[in-house]
């Protein structure tokens, strides 16, 4: 099959809403969305706490989290694999090669991004707001909701960056999901598999969706920063 006819077949898949194709896209989006939401629920408060708290080893922890932003996805996958494998500490949960395991692996990739960005955003705001907040009695953790709200545009960009990283990665979901057709096969793992099998239309179609997703995420991030600039000055 030449590349031109592969493209034509790919567009047919996308526009014809092929069920096999839709199932893969749907699973990918739901896994990544779940991972980002869970990581945000943990990462936003944790990052804000890290911005305000002072304790020995804080600087080392910040460096560690910043470093984890660059954690290779395959290593994240390996760590979750070791945790969830039958002989691992959480082996009894029987989660290996399920969508839940993929959510866990992507959370591990997204969490450092959200924590690090929240920490720097909140710390910057706190420097500016500290005296006023102290004046109106908002100190310590009581200040966190106000600080998160005022950092909402920067934090939205961070969540989108996390979503982008998780939706684009292959290694982690491949290791812990197992790429089982109809169950744990995501867009990225399908592309890897179908390309090696020679089924270019499906790989290309999914590639197009991924590119569109990336563009949409970047447009949203740009929009958030524009709205933020207009509102925050």
């Amino acid at each position: 099959m030449d590349v031109a006819s592969a493209f034509a077949a790919a567009f047919q898949l996308v526009l014809g809403l092929d069920p096999r194709f839709l199932q893969i896209v749907g699973l990918s989006l739901s896994v990544t969305l779940t991972a980002v939401v869970l990581a945000a629920l943990i990462g936003l408060p944790l990052g804000a706490w890290l911005a305000l708290a002072r304790f020995p080893g804080r600087a080392a922890l910040i460096v560690l989290i910043n470093g984890l932003m660059g954690l290779p996805p395959v290593v994240a996958g390996l760590m979750v694999f070791l945790l969830l494998s039958r002989s691992g500490p959480l082996g009894d949960w029987g989660l290996l090669f399920t969508p839940s395991a993929m959510v866990a692996a992507q959370m591990l990739l997204v969490l450092p991004i959200i924590v690090a960005l929240t920490r720097s955003t909140v710390e910057e705001l706190w420097t500016e707001y500290r005296e006023h907040f102290r004046s109106i009695g908002l100190t310590g953790l009581r200040a966190v909701p106000s600080l998160l709200w005022d950092g909402r545009f920067a934090l939205a960009t961070g969540l989108l960056a996390g979503f982008g990283r998780a939706s684009a990665e292959v290694g982690a979901v491949l290791i812990v999901g197992g790429n089982i057709a109809g169950y744990t096969r995501t867009m990225t793992t399908s592309i890897a598999l179908e390309t090696s099998k020679g089924d270019l239309p499906l790989a290309l179609g999914l590639g197009l969706v991924l590119i569109a997703l990336t563009l949409a995420i970047n447009a949203a991030a740009y929009g958030a920063s524009r709205v933020g600039a207009r509102f925050a000055g």
Binding site: E128, Y129, E131, S135, I136, G137, L138, S146, D150, F153
Partner: protein
């Protein structure tokens, strides 16, 4: 026993502060009774802003005491003194939400009604839904004063409230302060502009190099300064 109905007078005794091995304030004592505007004046680095921050409780003194009549300047758990900063701290929200945020944090009831009252009282209704950080410097300072007023303080601290404003905005801030004084609010302000102190204040605390040099009636201070330092400051000579 009934709690006291007022936090005044404020008694400051032997206040000292140091940072980085340097003494910034040394043995400052004064009493602030109810009513009127008192201006802390003096050259840069005299300790004017520091004195306000210590009185407001933003900083803890190295030695000495800041004594309110109520418990730490609170009555029924609510702080009765508020502060307006030199550079207004504006949250990344609308003017209305800036007011509501402070009212909810300090008073915690009737937030919407109190917010509306503050907007009307300071002529901010037309700006209410604009992002606070995009207001002009004068509008921001007016909003900052409205925000402090809405907390129903007995004492308002103002740190150089018009030092970064143009003459028109400065006049507006001074008019607001004069009105608030007529309504019985007690104000302690800092200014490096002694003409402003002359226009607004009934009493002057003259600080130099971290010490309280004079504590006098404004008319007496400017008419017949008791110390050579004050005379030199008024004459516009630099103090070192």
């Amino acid at each position: 026993m009934r709690p006291p109905a007022t936090i005044l007078p404020l008694r400051v005794r032997g206040l000292s502060f140091a940072a980085g091995g340097r003494t910034l304030l040394e043995d400052v004592s004064f009493t602030l009774p109810r009513g009127g505007i008192t201006a802390i004046i003096g050259p840069n680095g005299a300790g004017k802003s520091l004195t306000l921050r210590l009185c407001h409780g933003l900083l803890a003194p190295l030695s000495g005491t800041v004594e309110w009549c109520g418990d730490g300047g609170r009555i029924g758990g609510t702080s009765r003194h508020a502060m307006v900063f030199q550079r207004p701290v504006m949250l990344r929200r609308s003017a209305r939400a800036n007011l509501a945020h402070a009212i909810a944090s300090v008073i915690g009831r009737d937030v919407a009604a109190r917010t509306q009252a503050a907007l009307e009282r300071f002529g901010l209704e037309a700006l209410a839904d604009r992002p606070a950080r995009l207001l002009s410097g004068g509008e921001q300072q007016r909003l900052a004063i409205a925000r402090a007023w809405a907390l129903e303080p007995e004492v308002l601290f103002l740190d150089e409230p018009s030092s970064h404003l143009d003459p028109g905005a400065t006049r507006q801030i001074e008019q607001i302060m004069t009105q608030l004084a007529q309504e019985g609010l007690t104000m302690l302000m800092t200014t490096h502009d002694f003409q402003q102190a002359r226009r607004l204040a009934g009493r002057v605390l003259f600080l130099n190099k971290g010490r309280l040099v004079e504590d006098a009636d404004t008319a007496r201070f400017f008419g017949a300064p008791a110390t050579e330092e004050a005379r030199a400051f008024i004459a516009g000579e630099l103090l070192w």
